[in-house]
Amino acid sequence: MAEIVEGGGGGGGKHGKKTAKKGSARIDMTPMVDLAFLLLTFFVLAATLSKPKAMEIIYPKEAEKKDEKTLLNKDLATTILLGEKEDEVYYYKGFFKPDSTVLELTNFSKDGIRKMLLERNRTIIAAVNDLKTKFNNKEMSKEEYQEKFGEITGSDDAPFVIVKTIPTTKYKNVINAVDELEICNVRKRAIQDMAESEAIAVRQRTAELGL
């Protein structure tokens, strides 16, 4: 296939003498193959890299916003405060009291906010991991798994996290925070605007820590 069989007559010689060639001419296919693989590589990479991923976020309805706080158990609430700076995350547990609440400083590294969330959400994560093992051992269907998963993460004693932002918070940080919540199986969560008193507390704390 790669060879071209010369026709019986062959090309005419200088003086019209017929010279029959023996064997066959081969075409060097290497450049063509190179090109083919180059194109192949390009298309494979372009095809797989361009697929966008998405993260689902559900915002509360306007009306539900008000009674949210009353529903919350103080011990289960954690609030993450996202300021202007990229790697500065403050959080506090329970409800905010301007004089007594102490903001803890952390960041988005492995030992930062995730450690706190994993600790806080320990029982839920254990239950979810249990469920996952069962699902992986094919002891339940996907629907059943999802239902149970929702039940566990949405139960009344599951920790609740509120992410609070100021207008100049970078979008990246908000996504980062929600992603951490997703990783740590915190499904009871909300994104809200930071109250003025909290914003003041963040500024004070930043000054205190000398950042």
Partner: protein, 229 residues
């Protein structure tokens, strides 16, 4: 023992099957590749570990670094119906058939209603210029045109679903329903994104797909986040 015979010619390998395969794959990938429409806006979404795929039928609102808002909705039929509704809403906007066709085949855009006709008949150079200068689709409370696009986009989607004979129950299924996606640049201020989110919420849409880039996770419990909905 006989002498080992050394071949005079270089050994040749028949590469034909490999080449055949390579070209087959090239052809496959070329044909299946969907070329993206030229995007008038640059928005590099933040990275996250989420592995949920962006749905096919989607209304996509892009927010760039400066907070300019761009709108896109998938499906040519849906776009056609959407534009029909928009034209009813803004009767002052006159469009020729060519401009309508251009709109149907276009991707993301970020022009106000006043500038849209000019944008639709502009050539590529002028379009690029307009994309640079545009302030995006207005989202301020006085003249929230994004809200109009969202409403009419949904109407357009319903028209299309009606034509396909889908019932309301069919639409509840995620596969058939319209998803709402927001693609914002990682460096955008959250307030600008929130404006878009609030516009959606005013129209009673609460669930969003935030477009992200996939990143690896170094979590000790990485197995925990493998659940897709």
């Amino acid at each position: 023992m006989p002498k080992i015979k050394i071949p005079k010619n270089a050994p040749s390998l028949d590469m034909t099957p490999m080449v055949d395969l390579a070209f087959l794959l090239v052809t496959f990938f070329m044909l299946t590749a969907k070329f993206r429409n030229m995007e008038p806006v640059e928005a590099e979404p933040p990275s996250a570990t989420s592995e949920i795929q962006l749905p096919e039928k989607v209304m996509l609102v892009t927010v760039d670094k400066e907070g300019r808002v761009f709108f896109d909705i998938s499906g040519k039929k849906i776009r056609e119906y959407t534009l029909d509704h928009i034209r009813q809403r803004y009767p002052s906007m006159q469009l020729t058939q060519t401009q309508i066709d251009n709109f149907i085949n276009m991707g993301t855009f970020g022009q106000s209603i006043a500038n849209l006709p000019r944008y639709l008949s502009a050539d590529n150079d002028v379009k690029e210029q307009m994309d640079k200068q545009t302030k995006g689709i207005p989202v301020d409370s006085l003249d929230n045109q994004l809200s109009a696009w969202i409403l009419d986009g949904y109407q357009g989607f319903l028209d299309d679903a009606n034509e396909l004979g889908l019932t309301e129950d069919d639409l509840k299924d995620k596969k058939n329903g319209l998803s709402y996606a927001i693609k914002a640049d990682a460096e955008t201020e959250y307030a600008k994104v929130k404006k878009v989110v609030d516009t959606f919420r005013d129209n009673r849409i609460y669930q969003f797909n935030m477009v992200t880039n996939l990143k690896g996770t170094d979590a000790p419990d990485a197995k925990v986040n493998g659940d897709q909905q």
